[in-house]
Amino acid sequence: MHRMTPAERVAAMLRIRRFEEQCIALHKSGQLLGHYHVYIGQEATAVAACAALGAEDFIFTTWRNHGHLLARGADPERMLAEILGRANGYAGGKSGTLHLAVRELGIPGTSALVGGSLPLSVGSALACKRRGSGITAAFFGDAGLEEGATYEAMLVAAAWQVPILFICENNSVPREQRKRGQWTSSTLTAARLADVPSSLQVPVHEVDGADIDAMQECFDRVVAEIRGGGGPRFVEVRCTRWPGNSMPWPALPGGEWLLGWAHGGQPDDADMAGWMPSDPLARYLQKQIEAGSMERKQIEAIDARAKAEMAEAVRAALDSPFPAPGEAYKHVWTERRQAQ
């Protein structure tokens, strides 16, 4: 567990946001190929959850993994190199954005199938229990609860009482607010998402994904309970979907996110203006300014560093070589098997 200062939290959230903006720009310019998913609007969840975890813990994530990796300490240059299919990406260009993983950071593998990581994370938690240290955190979206694998995984976790934290990042849009053509949202017929784990006797919590302080308090407490042998826990993080996620490819409604929007300015884009009160980054910045714990200049300096870091990561990733075609045959089997 790491107690983050306000400046560290702001930096962590801004780094994710500026990274994702670069992905959108790279896609627009035709350099990022394939489908991809950004974490804008959910940054506080990854930052708070990762601050509650320790180095020996494992994390399982999904196709929407950039924020989790960055919050865990992954190198943006190697992430971008991977996302662009380059040889010095974390998987040498084999995973792209969908399966980004960094073993040395306790993120051993990433499934891009809805609910696919949940059974894996339960096994990881079993490994933690058997070795007697660490816990596993599994991030997934609300749609994950529509998969049978997720129910089975929670059942097995509850039956085995393994140390696992299920973090359901609910960014679904209520049916009545959905727009034509908007990405699908949860159609789970349970009254609350938490009813599913509750029915399996897994303790549940619901937190506001726009309130990093509330999340930090929740994650710290729940992680301590799990470490104490309390078995699995389920946290539903209620996020309000960022408007840029509402079409087949992410876009930036109103352009690059502006610090001024956290200082009383209003985006021209109506959707963005409507979403701003739900933006965890803007909310946190406003809170710090009102409390006098951070100054505007300090925030601007942090943002300038985040922007510069990500611009440099993009430049380095674009300069990286593509893998040699023969690399396609490597890593089907482990070296031990190949040596036979």
Binding site: P119, C128, R336
Partner: protein, 323 residues
């Protein structure tokens, strides 16, 4: 000394648990409902019950938990029960386990073993008689072991649990449990990926695996006794890796091949062997003895109509010899 197939499995599991504390059993119904074989599992249950995870009926999550535990340092054996239930777990076995090492660019491996008590066992009907080795063989990254004898049941299981760093599907067969073979505890195992010549012969090769191995041996005995035909029996032992070299050498020597395989005829293991022979110019004299492309029925005369028998292997061999 002689051991049985079921005894070999239980012995391998016991010794693996004793040898490496990372080995963990997720489910433990390795010998199914076979009461005679269950006594072999008694030492495992007695000494290692703390490492046998009690499991809900959740094949998908149990397979995934085995993979996830393997990704984080454990060496699990996941018992999927009746082999047909691998379909329940297929998303995790085929789309997760097989891809872990590749997708992570070699960062992570998943040394998990999925145990499937598979095959046409009598009265299993359509949903409990599946042979999925050919389908699983289509998934790069999965090792598929198909022992046809007791010494290989022991050796391959022990190898999967203690030596392999890659995910493995272990295809067992209830009708093999009583098969016995000579067993020397300290003898090194024939390496994985090497086929075993069960019987040397001159006139034709019978390529077999799993339950068709004893049937091929029975057919070879009949061919020798009644027709003076000397058959060579090649036991593949594993579908992935597949020992193409030994198959090619045997058929190059004998000039004829009968491929006996319990998968469905189309796109099966036999089809892959036949294609391998064809590409090397050895296809002119071969026959496949396989299960027709129909589901497996319950009633005995209906099931008997479809299964690969020693008689059918003999008939195919006689055809090839022009008799």
């Amino acid at each position: 000394m002689k051991i049985s197939f079921a005894e070999g499995l239980a012995k391998a599991i016991y010794e693996s648990l004793a040898a490496n504390p990372s080995v963990v059993l997720i489910g433990g119904s390795i010998v199914g409902l076979n009461m005679a074989a269950r006594k072999f599992m008694e030492p495992v249950v007695r000494e290692f019950s703390a490492r046998m995870m009690v499991t809900p009926v959740s094949e998908l999550a149990l397979a995934g938990a085995g993979i996830g535990a393997a990704m984080c340092g454990q060496r699990p054996l996941v018992d999927l029960g009746t082999g047909s239930f691998v379909y329940q777990a297929f998303a995790q076995v085929a789309n997760e386990a097989a891809n872990v090492h590749y997708m992570s660019g070699g960062q992570t491996s998943a040394p998990v073993t999925f145990y499937c008590l598979a095959g046409i066992r009598g009265t299993g009907a359509a949903q409990h008689s599946q042979r999925t080795q050919a389908m699983l063989g289509q998934v790069p990254g999965l090792q598929v072991l198909v022992p046809g004898g007791a010494e290989d049941a022991y050796g391959l299981m022990k190898w999967a649990l203690l030596e392999s760093d890659d995910p493995t599907v272990f295809i067992s067969h209830p009708l093999l449990f009583g098969e016995t073979s000579e067993f020397a505890p300290d003898a090194p195992m024939l390496p994985v990926g090497k086929a075993r010549i069960r019987l040397e012969g001159r006139d034709l090769s019978i390529i077999a695996s799993s339950v068709t191995v004893p049937r091929a041996l029975a057919a070879a005995a009949t061919l020798e006794r009644e027709h003076r035909i000397s058959a060579e029996v090649v036991d593949l032992r594993s579908i992935v890796p597949l020992d193409r070299d030994t198959v090619l050498q045997s058929v190059a020597k004998t000039g004829r091949a009968v491929i006996a395989d319990e998968c469905h005829r189309s796109y099966g293991v036999a089809a892959e062997i036949a294609a391998t022979l064809a590409e090397e110019g050895l296809a002119s004299l071969l026959r496949r003895v396989t299960v027709p492309d129909v589901p497996i029925p319950f009633s005995k005369p209906l099931e008997d109509e479809l299964i690969v028998t020693a008689d059918k292997i003999v008939a195919a061999a006689l055809q090839l010899r022009g008799r």
